[in-house]
């Protein structure tokens, strides 16, 4: 395993800091007087500048310095946190992100951003040339050290000279030296040639700890020396003075540096940053453990050795706990995903002229980190779509008797082994006639073809479908809703849309909690075994020989007065064996659709470690992965959304006819 790349570590930290700053800025837009928010934004910028310089991101440090300076003035009450200033820093933040990620940036863009920033702070329009070159180096940035030292009492007599030591420390950076005279005796007790002085020095330097130790290299054996790193800080005198005065300042006026240090200490104590690939490796090991445990269980079950059986049970318990723990380790709250939409909505309002209110619910719901990362792009597209196509302009809304501000609501909630994410808007709703016309025009459906409302709405997710009259820079980015659907299904999830004319639309995503392990129902069809994800299983019923005969050619059963289409997996997979006399139907669902899967035998529950399929198998479309069973055999995991879709298609003409 390789060590952490420091540059990558900084980039991760920068990303978090920028998100923190962004959140602070967006909150500040609503509460411009909030001191805590102002301080938080300043701290984020300050730390970003300091860390950037430490890791060699000089251009980022230089650029951020200007934003930090602007917010320092806000902090001091010299300028208000105006909407214009907030917008400028938000725009500048994108530039910082590019610099942190090492993407190429146009120097002119940086200059223009700083000109805007300057104008926002000064309340006028300043020419860009009047500002410092954003790429120009800022004052050196480094760490601040607190150094306390004293010399032995006979040091002066022996030739030691404290003043040159202090001068050397000053040579390392910005320095504040304070003598400590507490140990100086009363005049009558004083031996004037003895040294009773001590010093406390606050040094901000780009040099390392070694350079400090080197200052004392010739006196180190006899002296007392304490060196403590405070935090990386700029050479800004005000900041340094703030740090110096920390002991006498009241708690509420704790210097920024100290506050930042506090928060870092808490953060460090609570979390450890681990590269995702290490978690993946661990998950693989847990997967192998689960498979081995499954084999052990099978061996033990056929053994008369009670000790072996006891150990097998113990291992089973531990493996299950290990799996659960591992899943929790990978979980992160969806707020990490949702938070970015506040900025998106902020930008969309500016771009569209629409008034949009973002509501977020269930932000503490947790999802596998990998899933969250892969959900980001589809969700951005769906939110853009809701803003661009769904919501009306303020004038249209007023004319329709609606509040001028449209609502986009993002919500998440856990439902068993799935998380349900919805993107709802209270806009105009999907225009069915336009969808139909477009689908007919594109040859997706035959003219006049009878479709259910759900089928009609789902045409939106067909490849190449778009009802947008013109391509806008919001949603018409060459990525269609079909790509969104494909991505969601690639996550073993499902996607559904409902819409009411004039009331808005709701896109629902059902996403598995994790992509690595699922609970499954192991079934047998002929001699093959398959795994059905337990989260999709609604119930199991028997298909009697009589029902089997009656349903031939029809593939429908009645469950509590409701017709449910079913698929005979024997036929789907062409197993070529005769059916068992007592077949079972496993009723599965995705969204609102249900379908029955006819199998020969239900073998029981199975903790399933998902292994990816080869591209050949993946192309078949009925399987989402494979797993290794306890006896070493392989079982394919059924792709339930694909099978449900297949079942619904088979059933459609009958329902229309019936």
């Amino acid at each position: 395993m390789s060590g952490l790349d420091p540059t990558e570590t900084f980039r991760q930290e920068a990303q978090e800091l920028l998100e923190q700053v962004e959140k602070g800025l967006l909150d500040l837009a609503h509460r411009p007087e909030d001191r805590d928010l102002i301080d938080a934004v300043f701290r984020g910028l300050h730390t970003l500048k300091g860390s950037g310089a430490m890791f060699g991101f000089d251009a980022l440090a230089a650029f951020t310095h200007h934003c930090e300076t602007a917010f320092d003035r806000v902090r001091k009450g010299e300028v208000p946190a105006s909407k214009r200033l907030i917008a400028c820093v938000l725009a500048a933040q994108d530039h910082m992100r590019a610099l942190a990620e090492g993407r190429p940036v146009e120097p002119a863009v940086g200059k223009a951003l700083l000109a805007d920033l300057h104008a926002a702070v000064e309340g006028g329009d300043a020419p860009a040339a009047a500002l410092a070159d954003p790429a120009a180096p800022v004052a050196p940035v480094g760490k601040t050290w607190k150094i306390r030292f004293s010399l032995p009492t006979d040091a002066l007599v022996n030739g030691a000279r404290p003043l040159p030591l202090l001068d050397e420390l000053r040579g390392l950076g910005d320095c504040r030296v304070q003598v400590l005279t507490d140990d100086v005796p009363a005049l009558g007790d004083l031996v004037p040639t003895e040294c009773h002085l001590a010093w406390e020095v606050l040094l901000t330097t780009t040099h390392g700890r070694d350079a400090i130790d080197d200052v004392f290299i010739f006196v180190i054996d006899d002296m007392t020396l304490e060196v403590e790193e405070l935090i990386e800080a700029s050479t800004d005198n005000a900041a340094l003075e703030g740090a110096t005065k920390a002991p006498s300042a009241p708690p509420s006026e704790k210097p920024v540096e100290a506050a930042a240090q506090d928060s870092r200490a808490v953060k460090t104590g609570e979390t450890v940053r681990v590269p995702a690939e290490r978690l993946d490796e661990m998950m693989d090991r847990v997967g192998e453990l689960v498979i081995a445990q499954s084999r052990l269980r099978q061996l033990a079950s056929s053994s008369l050795d009670t000790a072996l059986r006891a150990v097998a049970e113990e291992i089973e318990r531990l493996a299950a706990e290990m799996r659960d723990t591992m899943m929790v380790v990978r979980m992160v709250p969806v707020i990490q995903l949702f938070a970015r939409f506040r900025r998106l909505i902020h930008d969309l309002q500016n771009d569209t002229g629409k008034k949009i209110q973002l509501q977020i619910e269930g932000e503490t719901t947790e999802l596998d980190k990998t899933v969250i990362e892969r959900l980001a792009d589809p969700l951005v597209h769906l939110v853009r779509n809701a803003a661009d196509h769904g919501l009306e302009t303020p004038e249209e809304r007023a004319a329709a008797g609606k509040p001028e501000a449209g609502i986009i609501r993002l919500s998440a909630r856990q439902s068993g082994a799935e998380v349900l994410i919805t993107i709802a808007d209270d806009g105009r709703g999907v225009d069915r006639d336009r969808v139909r016309a477009k689908a007919e025009e594109n040859g997706l459906i035959a003219p006049g073809q009878v479709l259910t409302d759900n089928e009609l709405l789902n045409l939106i997710f067909a490849p190449g479908f778009s009802t947008a009259a013109t391509i806008t820079n919001l949603s018409g980015r060459g990525v269609g809703m079909d790509v969104v659907k494909k991505t969601i299904e690639g996550l073993r999830g499902a996607l559904d849309i409902t819409s009411n004319p004039g009331e808005g639309s709701v896109v629902s995503l059902r996403i598995p909690l994790t992509l690595a392990i699922i609970d499954g129902l192991l079934v047998r069809v002929g001699t093959s075994r398959f795994v059905i994800p337990l989260a999709n299983v609604e119930e199991c019923v028997e298909l009697s020989p009589a029902q089997d005969l009656r349903s031939t050619g029809r593939s429908l059963i009645t469950l509590r007065d409701e017709l449910v289409p079913f698929l005979r997996l024997r036929e789907q997979f062409n197993t070529g064996s005769a059916p068992d006399p007592h077949q079972k139907i496993v009723v599965v669902s995705t969204g609102q659709d249900r379908v029955g899967l006819v199998v020969d035998q239900i073998l029981g529950d199975h903790q399933t470690v998902i292994k990816p399929l080869s591209s050949f198998h993946a192309d078949i479309g009925a399987f989402s992965g494979a797993t290794i069973l306890g006896d070493g055999g392989v079982a394919l995991i059924l792709d339930i959304p694909a099978l449900v879709q297949l079942g619904q298609r088979h059933d459609a003409p009958m329902r229309v006819a019936g």
Binding site: V179, V184, A186, L187, P192, V201
Partner: protein, 107 residues
């Protein structure tokens, strides 16, 4: 402005670790008189940290006894440099700053 009852101790020449003992003796003698003591540093040609340490000890002792001790003029020249280099003027102690520079400052 000197008071006629003040005892003036004038330091001159080198006031370093090798010669500070004489200054110590002179100052102690002046302090033992019990009246106000004024220290003149005009003729100091060289100084190290033993000088401010000596005067710090005298100042604190005087303060404890309620005795007055002050500099005739605020520290300047090389004495001021030693004070600055030694960190004597970065203190939150207003009395100390007042003693050396003659002006009270509220930090």
């Amino acid at each position: 402005m000197s008071d006629t009852s003040e005892y003036i101790v004038s330091f001159s020449g080198n006031l370093t670790v090798s010669s500070i003992a004489e200054a110590y003796a002179a100052l102690t003698a002046g302090m033992e008189l019990g009246g106000p003591v004024v220290v003149n540093l005009d003729a100091v040609e060289e100084a190290d940290l033993t000088l401010p340490q000596l005067l710090e000890a005298a100042r604190r002792t005087a303060a404890a006894k309620g005795q007055l001790i002050r500099l005739e003029k605020p520290a300047q020249g090389l004495v001021l440099q030693v004070l600055q280099r030694g960190g004597f003027l970065n203190s939150d102690d207003a009395n100390r700053l007042d003693f050396w520079t003659g002006e009270s400052r509220q930090l």
